[in-house]
């Protein structure tokens, strides 16, 4: 069976869903169910007595087959990300950690140096480290070498909906990588997710594309179908491109070529 392998974990779904930016938690939970996602990201936030109902741990844990992947959003240094990872593991009991260190709220580009350092430390400690990175083949290789479970290069800026702007670099990362490559960030449409899968990505992570859709649960389902179709196409093997036309029908019946 074709499954996504991350550490000793296997997943039949190759769609990872983020839980931010939904209009409310009911819609978010519906979207998670509709997506069939088995790996779902969450963020750490300070407890607030007035907003106790915002806590997602209980509702998400009640969905069967869900593994949580907390992120380190809010951290701007490796030390902060490591600290967030420890707290998140305490809460989730999950070994997965999405290392996400973006110091500049204007563009949210990940800091490669702090990300590398946090990933190195956390992988050594036994976490299944999923670093969110720019589409940089050299950094991706270095992260593989220090024991990350995957690399998660961005398709374009977080929440931008600009799609696979980095596809040239993604192709290099996919070709060179021996760990799963998961496109994270920037996707807007299911066709882009299918494209990423056809390129050979092992999974895609979407959040805004679903959360900001007109109907998030239906969009979640559309992404699930697109990811499955793209994976199927990749496994089937796409035809070679040709510089010129290649006939699919015989040309000798009436014509006089």
């Amino acid at each position: 069976m074709d499954v996504l392998k991350l550490g000793s974990y296997t997943f039949s779904s190759r769609l990872i869903l983020g839980t931010g930016k939904f209009s409310n938690s009911r819609v978010m939970l519906e979207a998670v169910r509709a997506s069939g996602a088995q790996l779902v990201t969450v963020a750490l936030r300070r407890f607030n007595r007035q907003q106790a109902e915002d806590d997602l741990f209980g509702p998400l844990s009640s969905i069967e087959g869900i593994t949580l992947m907390p992120n380190t959003s809010g951290a701007s240094t490796a030390a902060e990300a490591v600290r967030a990872a420890h707290i998140a593991r305490e809460l989730s009991g999950s070994p997965f950690i999405k290392v996400e260190i973006h110091p500049n709220p204007q563009h949210l580009m990940p800091d490669p140096i702090e990300t590398f350092e946090a990933a190195r430390i956390l992988a050594k400690e036994g976490f299944l480290v999923m670093p969110y990175i720019a589409a940089d083949p050299v950094l991706a290789k270095r992260l593989e070498e220090v024991g990350c479970a995957s690399v998660m290069p961005l398709g374009s800026a977080i929440g931008s909906g600009q799609g696979l702007a980095t596809s040239e670099m993604l192709n290099i990362i996919i070709r060179e990588s021996t760990i799963p490559v998961i496109v994270d960030a920037g996707l807007r449409s299911p066709s882009e997710a299918a494209h990423a899968m056809e390129m050979g990505c092992e999974a895609v992570l979407v959040n805004s594309a679903v959360a900001a859709a007109g109907n998030p649960p239906v969009m979640a389902e559309a992404f699930a179908e697109a990811v499955a179709a793209g994976r199927k196409a990749f496994m089937a093997g796409l035809m070679e491109k040709s510089g010129s036309a290649v006939a699919t029908s015989p040309l000798t019946f009436l014509g006089t070529y």
């Binding site: 983020g18 839980t19 931010g20 930016k21 939904f22 938690s25 978010m28 990201t41 969450v42 963020a43 750490l44 936030r45 300070r46 407890f47 607030n48 007595r49 106790a52 915002d54 806590d55 997602l56 741990f57 209980g58 998400l60 949580l68 907390p70 992120n71 959003s73 600290r83 420890h86 707290i87 998140a88 305490e90 809460l91 989730s92 977080i158 929440g159 960030a185 992570l205 959040n207 805004s208």
Partner: protein
């Protein structure tokens, strides 16, 4: 009755009765503590130690939960 203590709870001052434990603090806040991570002066306090871990004047306490995020 002895003086109340003050801790820094998620960066804000919080008065507490003396000899309050982490578990007492959670009760005061109306939390069952099940889905809350507790960090006191940068050390994680595990659920099994919350009823015995006493808070001191000036302790920095952080309570964290999971919220939506990508």
């Amino acid at each position: 009755m002895s003086q109340r203590i003050t801790i820094a709870l998620n960066g804000e001052e919080q008065p507490l009765p003396p000899d309050s434990s982490v578990g007492d603090l959670l009760s005061i806040l109306g939390s069952d503590g099940k889905s809350v991570a507790v960090v006191v002066n940068d050390a994680i306090i595990r659920p099994e130690n919350r009823s015995t871990h006493q808070l001191q004047q000036g302790d920095r306490v952080e309570l964290l939960i999971f919220a939506g995020g990508g």
